[in-house]
Symmetry: C2
C-alpha cells in the first residue's frame, strides 16, 4: 500500500497546516463579503435567492474570496474595494458549479443534494446565468477595467476548459498534457485571477500581480490534483461525496491517465470497458484501486501536486515576510494535507 | 375568422414595411460586425466555434446589432466602437438562445436543428457561457463602464425574466401583467440596451439615451407579442417552426392568457387539461384555435402590440428627421407585418 504510507509520511511532519491563519486574518472581511453575497443574490423572482442560497450560503470554504482578501492585505491594501470583488469571484465560482452539476448530472455537492437534483436543470442553468451577470455588475460597480479584463478573460478560459473536458471525457487516451490544460483552465485560472486581483486593487507593480497570479495558478492545479486523488482515498464525510465517484462516471483524471499508460494490454482493456463503455460490475472499483496501487499512480499524482505546490510557494518569494504571506503559504500546505 | 380579416386589413396599407432601409444603411458596419463575431468565437477548443458557428453564422436577422448600429449613426457617431459592441450584444443574445433551447428542450431554431439536438445539452450550456464571457471581453476592450453597466444589468434582468417564465410555465392563471413582466425582462431589455448604446457611444445627452431605450423596450415587447401571435398563424417556412409549438409545449403566452380569462368553465377545463397537464389529443390544437378566434384573442394581442409600437414610435420624436430615424421607425412597422 505505497500510497497510504506516502500520505502517512506527509502527515508526520508536525501540526497539520490549515486555513485557520488566513481565516483569522480575513474574518471581518469575509463577514462583509458574505453580507454582499446575500444582498446581491436577492431578486424579486423568489426562486433565484432560494436556489442560489442553497449552493452559496450553505457551504464552501470561500477559498477564492479568502485568497483575494489575503492577497490584497498582503499588498498593503486597506480600502473597501476587495469586498465586492471577492463576492464577484465567488459568484463566478458558484455559477460554474451550478452549470457543472447540470453538465455532469451530479447528485451531490459538498455532501448535499445539488440544485439540479432539487429544482431541475432549467433553473440551475438560468440562476447560474444570473449569478454570472451579478458578478459583472459587482465589477462594474467597482469600476476597474483591469479587474473586468482579468475576470472576463478568466470566465472565457473556464468555459473553454469545461468544453475541453467534455471532449476528453471517457477518453482513456487523454494525455497528461491535455489533462493539465483542462484543469489549468477550468480550475486554476480562477484561483490565479482571485490572487492577482489582490495586487490590482492595491495598485502594486505588474511583477507582484504576476507573482500572485502564478501563486494562484499553481495552487489551483495542485488543488485539482488533490481532488482527483481524494476521489479514490477520502472518506465520504470529509469530501462530501463517495469514494470512486470519478470512476463510476468514467472521469479521466491524472491517476487514471497514469494507470492506463502504465498498464498492460489486459489492463488497458479493463480501463476501456469501465471508463469508456461505462460497463462496470461489482468489484471493478476495487480492481481499479488495486491497479492504481500497483502502478503507484496516486503517490505520483501527489508528487505532481507537490511540484505545483513548490511553484506556488516560490512565486510568493518576492513579497517580504508578513502574517498574510505566511497565511497564504499555509494554504498550499493545507491543500496537500486535505482529507487526511 | 376575425383575426385573418384584421391582419389582411393591416396588410392592405401600401407597401410592406421591411428591414431593407436599415440593412442598407448599416450594410458595411454589419459586415464588420460579422467579421468580429467570426474572429471572437474562435477558440483552440474546436467544438466551440463549431457549435457557436451553427447558431451564430447560420442565421438570424442580426436585428439587435442593426438597431445598435442604426441608433449610433442616427446619433451622429462616426467612430469604430459600435462594431465591437454590436457583436457583444449579438453574443449575449446567442448565449441566451443556447441556454433557452436547453431549458425549453427545443428541437428547432430558425427552421434548423438546435445545437442541443445536434451536440447535446452539455456543450450548449458551456458554449453559451463562453459566448457570454466573450461579450464581456468585447465590452472591456471597448472600455466604457457605462456600456458595461447597461449590458451587465440587462443580462441579470434577462436571467430573471427566464426564471420568472419558468415559474409561470404551464400556469393558466398567469396574469397579463405577470406575462408582460416576463417578456419585458427576457426579450425587450436587450432591445432597449442595444438601442441605448447607440446614444452612449455617440456621447449624446441622457434624454436621448432614454428615448432610444424606450424605443427598444417597447419595440421589444411588440416583437415578442408578434412572435406569440405568429406561433398560431404563421406558415412553418416563414417562422422556422411549426404552428402550435407553443400550444404543444403548454407555453402561456398572451393569446392563451386572454382566451383562458374569457373562457367559460368548460373552456377553462380544456385549457387546464391541454396546457397544465399537457394531456393533448388530436383535434385539441384546432379546438384551441377555434376558441381563440371566438374570443378574438389574436386580434387583441395584435392590438396590444400596436400600443407598444406606438410608444416605440413616439419615443423617437425627439430626434430630427434623418434616413436612420426613418429606418428605425420602419423596424416597428416591419415587426407588425411579420409573417404576412
Amino acid at each position: 500500500m505505497a500510497v497510504i504510507v506516502d500520505l502517512e509520511a506527509a502527515r508526520g511532519k508536525g501540526p497539520q497546516p490549515s486555513l485557520d491563519a488566513l481565516q483569522a486574518l480575513v474574518a471581518d472581511d469575509i463577514a462583509k463579503v458574505n453580507a454582499v453575497i446575500l444582498t446581491r443574490m436577492e431578486s424579486p423572482v423568489a426562486l433565484i435567492p432560494q436556489l442560489a442560497g442553497h449552493i452559496i450560503a450553505a457551504g464552501g470554504k470561500r477559498l477564492r474570496p479568502m485568497m483575494l482578501l489575503g492577497a490584497a492585505r498582503m499588498c498593503g491594501y486597506r480600502g473597501p474595494r476587495h469586498i465586492g470583488l471577492a463576492a464577484s469571484v465567488e459568484f463566478i465560482h458558484t455559477a460554474t458549479l451550478l452549470h457543472d452539476d447540470v453538465v455532469d448530472d451530479s447528485d451531490l455537492r459538498r455532501g448535499k443534494a445539488t440544485a439540479n437534483t432539487l429544482w431541475g436543470n432549467q433553473p440551475s442553468v438560468l440562476v447560474g446565468d444570473f449569478l454570472f451577470s451579478r458578478a459583472f455588475q459587482l465589477m462594474v460597480a467597482d469600476g476597474s477595467l483591469d479587474v473586468l479584463a482579468i475576470l472576463s478573460n478568466a470566465s472565457a478560459v473556464i468555459a473553454e476548459g469545461e468544453v475541453m473536458q467534455l471532449t476528453t471525457a471517457n477518453d482513456t487516451e487523454t494525455s497528461e498534457a491535455q489533462y493539465l490544460d483542462v484543469i489549468r483552465c477550468k480550475t486554476a485560472v480562477l484561483f490565479a485571477a482571485a490572487a492577482r486581483i489582490g495586487a490590482v486593487v492595491a495598485n502594486r507593480p505588474k511583477v507582484e500581480e504576476q507573482a500572485l497570479e502564478s501563486y494562484g495558478l499553481n495552487l489551483g492545479i495542485a488543488f485539482q490534483l488533490l481532488d482527483d486523488v481524494l476521489d479514490y482515498t477520502a472518506v465520504q464525510a470529509t469530501l462530501g461525496k463517495s469514494v470512486g465517484d470519478d470512476f463510476r462516471e468514467g472521469k479521466i483524471t491524472l491517476p487514471i491517465i497514469l494507470a492506463f499508460r502504465r498498464g498492460n494490454d489486459e489492463e488497458k482493456t479493463f480501463w476501456r470497458r469501465t471508463l469508456e463503455d461505462l460497463d462496470q460490475t461489482e468489484g471493478d472499483l476495487a480492481h481499479a484501486m488495486r491497479l492504481m496501487n500497483q502502478h503507484g499512480v496516486l503517490a505520483d499524482t501527489m508528487e505532481r501536486a507537490r511540484h505545483y505546490s513548490a511553484l506556488a510557494r516560490d512565486a510568493l518569494d518576492i513579497f517580504p515576510a508578513s502574517p498574510e504571506k505566511t497565511a497564504l503559504l499555509e494554504v498550499i500546505g493545507f491543500n496537500m494535507s486535505r482529507g487526511h
